[in-house]
Symmetry: C2
Subunit: 159 residues, 2 copies
DNA sequence: ATGATAACTTAGCACCCGTAACTATTAGTT
DNA sequence: AACTAATAGTTACGGGTGCTAAGTTATCAT
């Protein structure tokens, strides 16, 4: 019975998330320099502190090559820098440049303002439900394995 | 003040949705034939009844060319058919094939099962919050313009 | 018939994402 | 020390998503 409800919710997610995603992407695109959702998230993470490539990849739940490419794109834009740390010479540290920080600031301002327009009309309870739901989503998907599991989904949990 | 909270929520969305999206996409990909979220949604919509291309595009909030391309890809897979209606010979009707229906059934079963695994462990209140939040998201983004670039969206809305 | 408009398609561009294969560097064995 | 793993990244390649701009064909208005 829990099962049936879970499936309904799953279907909801499958329907709604892509829609939201497209809208958000359009928002960012319209916000000027279009740093695609992925770039935006990256800048956010990096603005806290520098990270090594692998960490970024697992944080965002993408493969290493994908992350390497994204970073390359962002380096070309002058938003981040690749740096070599002192110790292990295999790793690459990624750091935001001032330019990147400025871009993040600008885009985030625009995007949030735009999104806020959409959110503002909500009444209190609705907004409560929204943030509540987002919190749950975060809890669920923040630590999600995200990688395809084998036939028997025995909780890979081997990361 | 409403403003400030709205911005917080906006930031949340900007952070979480892409993550969820990636996970969902990975899920679908792992579910076998990888019909990318977009294809999946399309099949869902079309399984209710055939639609003309333009309607599909506005329903999913993408441009006509994008939709045309997606449909072409799906046609090649044998999931949908392009048909010419009797009346207006400019329009193209899109219809699901039995193959497409079967694929939808299969993938949706797998994806939902997988997602359900993630959702099932939630306790009642958490699941409530989740579905509540999803509902709000739907309300907000279902009718969203999404093509927002121009300041004054003239709301074509003649349909 | 002529011009505008509507519904699509094609082409070109930028980006996300993944797998496979390859380079460097470091760690572990013998 | 010499050889073999294991790590951290990069490159190459294929497929998907989106967009705009520039056609095509069909319909409508005058």
């Amino acid at each position: 019975m829990t099962r049936g409800q879970a499936r309904d919710t799953a279907r909801e997610i499958l329907e709604i998330i892509p829609l939201v995603m497209r809208t958000v992407a359009a928002e960012l695109r319209a916000a000027g320099e279009m740093p695609a959702p992925a770039h935006f998230g990256l800048l956010s993470v990096l603005s806290v502190r520098p990270r090594m490539l692998s960490d970024l990849a697992s944080l965002q739940g993408v493969s290493l090559p994908t992350m390497s490419n994204s970073i390359s794109a962002m380096v070309e834009r002058g938003w981040v820098r690749r740096e070599a740390p002192d110790g292990d010479r295999r790793v690459v540290m990624i750091d935001v440049t001032p330019t990147g920080r400025a871009a993040l600031e600008r885009v985030s301002r625009a995007a949030e303002a735009h999104l806020a327009d959409v959110i503002a009309p909500l009444d209190l309870p609705a907004r409560r439900r929204l943030t509540g739901g987002l919190g749950v989503l975060r809890k669920i998907f923040a630590a999600a394995p995200a990688s395809g599991s084998r036939k028997g989904h025995r909780t890979p949990a081997k990361r």
